[in-house]
Point group: C2
Chain length 373, copies 2
């Protein structure tokens, strides 16, 4: 453990995450330049989320590209737990997944874990879950996935095939392994104890449904990685390929605490926020600036702890020179927080406007994307 | 605990079962004469399995009859774990269920727990399970249930509705409750830990599918009772009625050990046995007789430990006077084992011949009984 204590599980992120330490804890590899160059080679360009190391770790993505190059079907799998309305943080893996789908022409299996979110959250009713699921699907479609190659499905509606595969997985996962991996306790309910078997299913679903070899790559936030350890452990026992993974850091919330929390709406930009609401949130966000303009000019700001800068860097300013200049000018006291806030607010407002247009259009297209029994 | 140690769980029966002790351990009631008279009143006559106390315990069967009398829909639920071919022991609850269906005109939900048997038996492959399921369904239909009122379904094929209800159940069952009820350990797999939620589903399925009040009665062997404790515990939390139950003793195997074991085919009469094979098994069965005819005439036999007598008493000699006379004559040394063996062999051969005729006819009727998604 590093000096600051932190904890990352699929359901809980506590403390300040040490991402390098997490590589060791989880036993995953950093994304190195060689791999990034291979990705650039296939995609034509390198996505800003890769250039800026928001996606920073992986497991066997090189092998996945090998499979693609050898003509083995290369498939993508990502997902969403419908516990509320979608915010920007949720979108990060989906944006990278869309980039990878475009680059590799991959089929995408998009699992909505309505069962998981019902089981883990005592407050959520089945009606809540169904409402969020219906809503979240619009955001998923709005990302722009190829409808001919994308299969969106929920555990509570696309169930038979999934349960059949999950039972095969579950036979090979003992309670003691599940407890060690996820931290289950005596008070964990028996549904969530079983759930890792359901979450493993899409790793194998392409092989089952298409009755052919397929290699699955999972883009997701690093906290989901424990699930794939279970899936990778079981894969050879069932005669399936182990999934590969590409893992992101977390996008910070807009407040000083650094967390995005759906229960504190001022910390998140929801995809359903009106652009002017989002602009207001950006304007109120925590920055690395000095208390006064005078001090900012004298001492310079601190972009390394600035949420606004982090958003520009991670996603919203794709121009490498521009973002480097922002960093330099901030530190030098030449750039005021208001300028960064305005820049980000414009970007976010434009992004939301476009997303919401696509989301509206998605309402008529749900059937094109849903995998049905 | 009684002096002799015994253990009864849904997957394991160890030692010599003290059925009275089990009433206390499981907290269920003995079937008293008043309840039997009520059953007789509805059915017109009392089934031999009730008269001879093979079914000897219950939970709230009086309430279930109250519901029926008040016009609440009274439903039956029983099941089968398809871990092999069906033998006579498996048939006992089904025979009583058929009698209750005829008496109360009840809908019957018949759950085939293919998932459970796959999960608990390391040796069984999915192909084995599917083969046994297909085969066992013919035996179920051959019992003579009313096709208009009987819904046979398997967990791996009638999955979506069941998984949706199971997830609601599972949210209210902690690992610690499941462990205390079923004896799960660290090496239990996560599928079987979840399974009690699936087994609870048919208790609520009639209420869900028909969107109306319904009271479920479960005829089964006493070892299955722990499942219904879970179901009863959760029912009010989900707004459903608690199921009632009627519980049987175990039918002994044909060998001296008293156990029926599918892995020792000589201890069981399989419903697929040729009548002449079954006759041979009966003739080789353990009796309460003396080593020689001379000793038998002098000392008399012991029907209380005799497997042959037990089969006649429990099921195959419905005539109360005849079976009492057999008991008396055996003890008095007037009746030799060969006579009882011949009597039972004839009954069993006739039973199998008729069952197998009905089983053959069932092959064309499977679709009439299957509940499909």
């Amino acid at each position: 453990m590093s000096n600051n204590e932190f904890k990352v599980t699929p359901w809980e992120v506590k403390g300040e995450v040490d991402y390098d330490e997490l590589l060791k804890q989880f036993g995953v590899e950093p994304l190195n330049d060689k791999l990034l160059e291979r990705l650039r080679g296939h995609a034509g360009s390198l996505h800003v989320l890769l250039r800026r190391k928001v996606f920073y770790a992986h497991r066997e993505i090189g092998d996945w590209m090998d499979s693609y190059e050898k003509g083995v079907k290369a498939v993508l799998y990502t997902g969403r737990g419908p516990s509320g309305y979608t915010h920007l943080g949720h979108l990060i893996p989906w944006i990278l997944t869309k980039y990878l789908q475009d680059a590799f022409g991959s089929d995408l299996y998009f699992q909505i874990t309505d069962d998981e979110k019902y089981l883990v959250d005592q407050e959520l009713t089945m009606e809540d879950i169904h409402r969020y699921t219906k809503d979240n699907i619009l955001d998923i479609i709005a990302v722009g996935f190829d409808p001919r190659k994308t299969r969106v499905f929920t555990d509570l509606t696309y169930t038979k095939e999934q349960y059949n595969i999950a039972v095969r997985v579950a036979k090979h996962v003992t309670f003691s392994t599940a407890r060690a991996t996820f931290g289950f306790t005596d008070s964990s309910n028996i549904g969530i104890i079983f759930f890792p078997a359901i979450q493993a299913v899409p790793c194998f679903l392409p092989q089952v449904l298409e009755k052919r070899d397929a290699h699955v790559l999972i883009p997701c936030a690093i906290d989901q990685e424990p699930y794939w350890r279970i899936a990778r452990d079981v894969a050879p026992k069932l005669g399936y390929r182990k999934p590969a993974g590409i893992y992101s850091k977390f996008i910070p919330g807009l407040g000083a605490g650094g967390k995005m929390s759906a229960s504190m709406p001022e910390t998140c930009i929801f995809l359903s926020d009106k652009p002017e609401e989002a602009v207001k949130k950006v304007k109120n966000a925590f920055t690395g600036g000095q208390p006064t303009i005078k001090e900012q000019r004298e001492k310079g700001g601190n972009p390394d702890v600035c949420v606004i800068y982090s958003y520009l860097y991670s996603l919203f300013d794709e121009d490498d020179r521009s973002v480097a200049e922002t960093y330099r000018a901030c530190k030098a006291g030449e750039r005021m927080c208001g300028e960064c806030k305005n820049q980000l607010a414009d970007k976010v407002a434009a992004f939301l406007k476009e997303h919401q247009r696509r989301r509206e259009a998605a309402k008529k297209r749900v059937d094109e994307f849903l995998l049905k029994e």
